[in-house]
């Protein structure tokens, strides 16, 4: 508990600093949202309202921006983030089959989080590593040349 609280506090402090730094500056909206997303893994409602107030941006715009960009999520994510590349190179080399395998394994669709919050699964477009397609990352760890068969074994590594 204690440890968790600390890291929570640290995050809160970072978010507060971010808000303070960009107070009154509507142009910083995306910068601030990205900071919160990075710190907390999603954009909580209360913070979006704070952002609207501190940056002096209508909440409608805050929400409009939050729902425009794929990098922002409004719900807490799972403990582990799976990103499967569906860029051209990966697509051509069989990423759709890998996607099917992941969805079957986790019983969720792309963009969703498993019931037990273990995984959030997203598809992305090109990670700039097309030569080792199809590429999947879990929490940033890269798994090159994925195949449907390797899915269960790779995912088993993440508790």
């Amino acid at each position: 508990m204690g440890a968790q609280c600390n890291c929570q506090n640290e995050s809160n402090k970072k978010v507060e600093d971010l808000l303070a730094k960009h107070r009154g500056n509507p142009n910083s909206l995306i910068v601030v949202l990205a900071g919160i997303q990075q710190e907390l893994g999603y954009l909580p409602k209360d913070l979006l309202i704070r952002v609207a107030e501190e940056l002096n941006v209508p909440l409608t715009d805050v929400y409009g921006v939050a729902t425009f960009y794929a990098a922002f999520t409004l719900r807490p994510r799972g403990r582990h983030s799976i990103n499967l590349c569906l860029g051209t190179a990966c697509y051509v080399k069989g990423a759709p089959e890998v996607q099917e395998a992941i969805e079957k394994e986790l019983k969720i669709k792309a963009g969703e989080t498993t019931e037990d919050r273990r995984f959030t699964f997203d598809v992305v477009r090109c990670l700039g590593a097309c030569s080792i397609a199809p590429v999947m990352t879990v929490d940033g760890e890269v798994h090159p040349r994925m195949t449907p068969e390797r899915v269960p074994e790779v995912l088993a590594k993440y508790e």
Binding site: F68, F72, L86, K93, P144
Partner: protein
């Protein structure tokens, strides 16, 4: 730093770099061992290799004679992790941590290269060094000149590769207009897709009177399957910073923004570090190199929207708004970021600037063909043997790239088509295998050079499926502002979906064509105006494949899942 300090650093750094440029070592090190730290190699585990090498070198007591460096992308990413050993430019492929013992013992201690780690062609020919490797033979590196050779964040190494000589030259001896003339004369055209003459664009901005102007680097690189901008930003960030600074001087801007997509953390990290170093050394900030010219750059990270590569959307996004394009005019040069005159160029465009200034416009214009001057970096991917980044003179033939550089189609299948220009581009069928890769020729075939995505397909690729993939991408990435793109691409995709499921109807092809043509005509921005291209060009060259799906309910390539379809060949 002053001009003189710059030259002092350069002469020292040049000595250290001599070996990597083909000479003998002129510094205290006998070997330079370069570990590629580009995104591709990073993904295939280069960090472990680098760590293992460091330990092994230390253990072998070679620390003082072997210089270890992590570089940006070397090009042949598919063969990563890649380790290069100089002198000689030995190119070790797929290196695993356990391989470093051999590299240390055989090569670094006994001067015998490790044959088993070297590249072999599909027919078994050994090609141990870059000079011998087919993949590199036909390449001509300008934009990628430093990538894979230097430590990306080391300013000294950059300077050793003639870095900041262009800026020094510009500040010392060229007027802003002279700089613009030089860029104009070089014939350089924007590498971000549209191919607009860069010098002319700079001129527009220079001609504007305003209290504030901006220079923008477009590092959004949204084309899925292209990663040259990533390579430059990660592997040679100073080249972009220096070029933006030169543009600031030429056009009267004092502030720059580098918009880099979020999916490139390594690029962001290296670019940020490079900015810090430049500020520290007086190469950014007030009174650059002691002159009265001031310029600084800020990074803006993308947030996951392909459309933000479009210039007006990028500027909206930089202003913290939804990345929705707006009609032009006004053009960015008149009213851009924050309503001020702005000049926006692509990363690869920036990477070409300094060599043009240093070696002259005539030199640059002598490379390439017709109105397509210089080189172009292509991200070669798909069903070829060697994938990776290749920088070639404009005008090279598609066949040369696929067969000579790419080593031909993997697993001996037949070349079917090349998709160029990513989701805004089109395909080039086998009939045009000898086509020249340049702006005009590709346009005449219904495709584009675009950002340089080059996806090779073979007989196992279904063209309906490929078109569906690209359209699915653009449909998904449509900002939704204008009607033709928002609803039109959706309807096109619905039709493609039913065709690929064997539910296509008589008249669907004509409906697709009508939609495609009208969306191109009426959409607000480049995304919508080019979104139908993959469909149109596959229809142009592979209409019978569409017809097979609709009339015979079968996918000739055996890709589409059609219930009750006749078993497809292959």
């Amino acid at each position: 730093m002053t001009f003189q300090e710059l030259e002092e650093i350069r002469s020292k750094a040049k000595k250290a770099l001599a070996v990597r440029l083909g000479g003998e070592p002129t510094d205290e090190y006998k070997y330079h061992v370069l570990v590629c730290g580009g995104t591709g190699c990073h993904s295939s585990g280069c960090q472990d290799v680098a760590d293992a090498l460091e330990k092994a070198v230390e253990a072998a007591g070679l620390k003082n004679t072997v210089k270890l460096i992590q570089t940006g992308c070397m090009g042949a990413c598919q063969l990563g992790p890649v380790v290069m050993v100089y002198p000689g430019a030995y190119h070790y492929c797929n290196v695993k941590p356990e391989d470093v013992t051999d590299i240390v013992n055989d090569h670094l201690k006994n001067d015998k290269f490790v044959e088993r780690l070297c590249y072999r062609t599909p027919d078994g020919e050994l090609q141990p060094t870059i000079k011998e490797m087919d993949f590199f033979k036909k390449q001509h590196k300008i934009a990628l000149r430093n990538c894979g050779i230097i430590d990306p964040v080391s300013l000294e190494e950059y300077i050793g590769m003639d870095g900041y000589a262009a800026l020094a030259k510009v500040l010392k001896e060229m007027s802003p207009q002279e700089v613009i003339e030089e860029v104009k004369k070089s014939g350089l055209r924007g590498r971000g897709g549209a191919g607009f003459p860069t010098g002319l664009k700079w001129q527009f901005m220079a001609d504007q009177k305003a209290d504030q102007k901006y220079v923008i680097c477009n590092g959004d690189e949204g084309d899925p399957g292209a990663f040259m901008d990533n390579a430059v930003l990660t592997g040679d960030p100073y080249s972009v910073i220096e070029a933006m600074t030169i543009c600031g001087y030429a056009t009267g801007a004092t502030k720059g923004y580098a918009y880099i997509r979020l999916e490139y953390p390594l690029a962001i990290k290296n670019f940020r570090k490079a900015l810090e170093v430049c500020r520290e050394k007086g190469l950014l900030g007030n009174n650059i190199m002691g002159t009265d010219f001031s310029f600084d750059i800020e990074i803006r990270e993308g947030a996951g929207a392909f459309v933000c590569g479009e210039e007006t959307a990028l500027m909206a996004s930089t202003e913290g708004k939804r990345g929705e394009p707006r009609p032009r005019p006004p053009f960015p040069a008149q009213s851009g970021l924050f309503g001020k005159p702005s000049n926006i160029n692509n990363v690869e465009t920036w990477a070409n600037i300094c060599p043009i200034i240093l070696k002259g416009a005539d030199w640059y214009a002598s490379i390439g063909v017709g109105k397509s001057k210089g080189t172009k970096v292509f991200a070669l991917a798909g069903k070829v043997v060697n994938t990776g980044l290749v920088e070639v003179p404009m005008g090279i033939s598609l066949r040369e790239v696929v067969e000579e550089i790419g080593g031909g189609i993997a697993s001996g299948k037949k070349f079917k088509a090349a998709q160029t220009g990513g989701p805004s581009g089109g395909c080039i069928p086998a009939d045009h295998f000898d086509t020249s890769l340049d702006y005009e020729t590709l346009a005449s075939l219904g495709s584009i050079v675009g950002s340089g995505g080059l996806i090779i397909t073979d007989e196992d690729t279904c063209m309906v499926d490929l078109a569906k993939f690209y359209l699915g991408f653009t449909q998904d990435e449509s900002c939704g502002k204008c009607t033709p793109c928002r609803i039109g691409t959706k309807r096109m995709l619905e039709i493609l979906n039913r065709i690929s499921r064997g539910l296509g109807r008589e008249g669907d092809i004509e409906l697709l064509e009508e939609l495609a043509y009208m969306i191109k005509q009426s959409a607000l921005c480049g995304l919508g105006q080019t979104a139908p291209n993959p469909v149109l060009s596959t229809l142009k060259y592979f209409r019978e494949e569409y017809e097979a799906h609709i009339k015979e309910k079968t996918c000739p390539a055996g890709v589409c899942k059609i219930r009750g379809a006749k078993k497809a060949t292959s």
